[in-house]
């Protein structure tokens, strides 16, 4: 019995490492593909990247702003409730800024991108593979890593970064509006406190997390979408797996980067 349990655990660990290996291999191919791009394929990649940014960032702006506004307001209400008991409301904007910029902004945007674009990427890749479209592209000399994966990763990085900036700004604005309703707070004081709260570590964290999430989400979702083999029934399984794994990686990477940068 203990041997069987050990065997099962061992198989799962082996599978996890195999998946990690195959994702790393794909990322390596992507980096190589980027440096091997010739002039005209580079233009094609830029065109596809632009489309990706439109779908991932521009089309997500309304939902991103709404989420940020509500989250900023709710977070401030909670923080205000805690701080007012100690009479330190003047730290309100600093706490809000650090909470939103360091953690909530990248995390919420990551979740938004997984739920909107990650699922779309996994579904698109799976259905294009099942229809034989990808085989035909490859047979006709189109490098699938360069044409499909690279623009999605480049678009993912740009989109996550842009959305995080918008998210942070709107969340802080939402927080200010809530604070202004309850406290005699001026915008100048709020902005001044914000300026003091945002240092090089916050900027480093934002840049690093955007780069990590923007790379990981398209890479994982595309890779899991491409794993389907024959049947359309594999499609929902592939999409679910892509979302769950992306979410798990998002949380793990977010926590790890926060520990590395702020510990």
């Amino acid at each position: 019995m203990p041997e069987q349990l050990a065997c099962r655990l061992g198989a799962k660990v082996r599978r996890a490492f195999a998946q990690l290996g195959s994702i790393s291999w794909l990322l390596g191919k992507c980096v190589r593909g980027l440096f091997r791009l010739r002039r005209e394929p580079f233009r094609v990649v830029l065109e596809v990247t632009r489309t990706q940014i439109r779908f991932t960032a521009l089309d997500a702006l309304p939902i991103c702003c709404l989420t940020a506004l509500l989250l900023g307001g709710i977070t401030l209400l909670q923080v205000f409730g805690q701080l007012s008991g100690y009479g330190v409301e003047s730290y309100l904007s600093q706490v809000l800024a650090q909470l939103v910029i360091r953690e909530l902004g990248p995390l919420m945007v990551g979740m938004l991108v997984i739920s909107r674009s990650g699922t779309a990427m996994a579904t698109e890749m799976a259905s294009r593979k099942l229809s034989g479209e990808l085989d035909a592209l490859s047979a006709n000399g189109v490098d699938l890593v360069q044409y499909l994966l690279l623009p999605r990763i480049l678009g993912g990085i740009v989109s996550v970064f842009s959305l995080v900036i918008v998210f942070d700004a709107v969340a802080l604005l939402g927080g200010f509006v809530v604070a202004w309703l309850r406290l005699p707070l001026s915008l100048a004081f709020f902005l001044d406190a914000l300026g003091q709260a945002i240092g090089h570590r916050e900027l480093t964290a934002t840049f690093t997390k955007c780069l990590a999430f923007g790379t990981a989400i398209p890479l994982l979702c595309t890779a899991y979408g491409l794993r389907v083999k024959r049947s359309a029934t594999e499609l929902p399984q592939a999409v679910t797996k892509a979302c769950v794994i992306s979410l798990l990686v998002l949380l793990l990477a977010g926590a790890l980067l926060s520990v590395l940068i702020y510990a």
């Binding site: 005209e40 229809s131 034989g132 085989d135 035909a136 592209l137 490859s138 047979a139 006709n140 000399g141």
Partner: protein
């Protein structure tokens, strides 16, 4: 003996249902050779084309294209330079691109042509394929336009090896005539190698090839 363009060495292929399609198959396709295989669906013609294009992976044995073995997960240099004209039954076009963009894409990606040059070349071949009025339409999978545009794509790239499968759902008389003329024009180049499957109207373009019992017989041998 000159090196063949394509060589299947002891290739065994088993269908996903577990039925053997080819057993230890040795077959060579010389440069400039043209073959046409008859037979309906399930006869092994499509499987042979998919093997030759590197789309189906053999269960054992290897396939050597232009002196280099085909390997899963890597883009073969012959394919990377756009020398393979792959025309599957359903056309294999990207449904999110127009017919013109579908033909233009490999010209820009594999041949490195600029957008304008690629569009000019694509336009000329799409017109020959009878699709001059539908350039900006998106393909509907399975329709004759897909297959005809796929033919135009292979021609526009200046493919050296043509692997052409029967069109899904057949073609009308006008399309057959356009396809015949297009293939005949391409076949005027003696360096072009062709393997065509299905469609009696294609039989004049190549020697008879028989596929059966897991074997491939060239030149009408049993």
């Amino acid at each position: 003996m000159p090196e063949p363009l394509l060589a299947l060495e002891a290739v065994t292929l088993v269908s996903p249902e577990g039925r053997p399609v080819f057993r230890a198959l040795d077959w060579r396709l010389g440069r400039g050779a043209r073959f046409h295989a008859h037979g309906g669906a399930g006869g092994g013609g499509t499987a042979l084309l998919r093997l030759c294009a590197g789309i189906a992976e053999p269960d054992s044995g290897r396939i050597v294209l232009d002196g280099t073995p085909l390997e899963a997960g890597t883009l073969h240099p012959f394919l990377a330079r756009g020398a393979l004209g792959w025309v599957p039954s359903d056309g294999g076009l990207a449904v999110n691109l127009s017919l013109l963009d579908n033909v233009t894409l490999p010209l820009r990606f594999a041949l490195g042509l600029g957008r304008r040059d690629a569009e000019r070349t694509a336009l000329a071949w799409l017109e020959k394929a009878g699709l001059g009025q539908q350039l900006h339409e998106r393909p509907a999978p399975g329709h004759r336009e897909c297959w005809m545009a796929s033919l135009a794509r292979a021609a526009a790239k200046g493919s050296r090896l043509w692997l052409v499968d029967r069109p899904l759902g057949g073609l009308d008389a006008a399309s057959i005539q356009a396809a015949e003329e297009l293939l005949s024009e391409v076949a005027r180049d003696p360096g072009v190698t062709m393997l065509l499957v299905g469609g009696a109207w294609m039989s004049s373009l190549g020697q008879d090839l028989k596929i059966g019992n897991g074997r491939v017989f060239s030149g009408g041998e049993p």
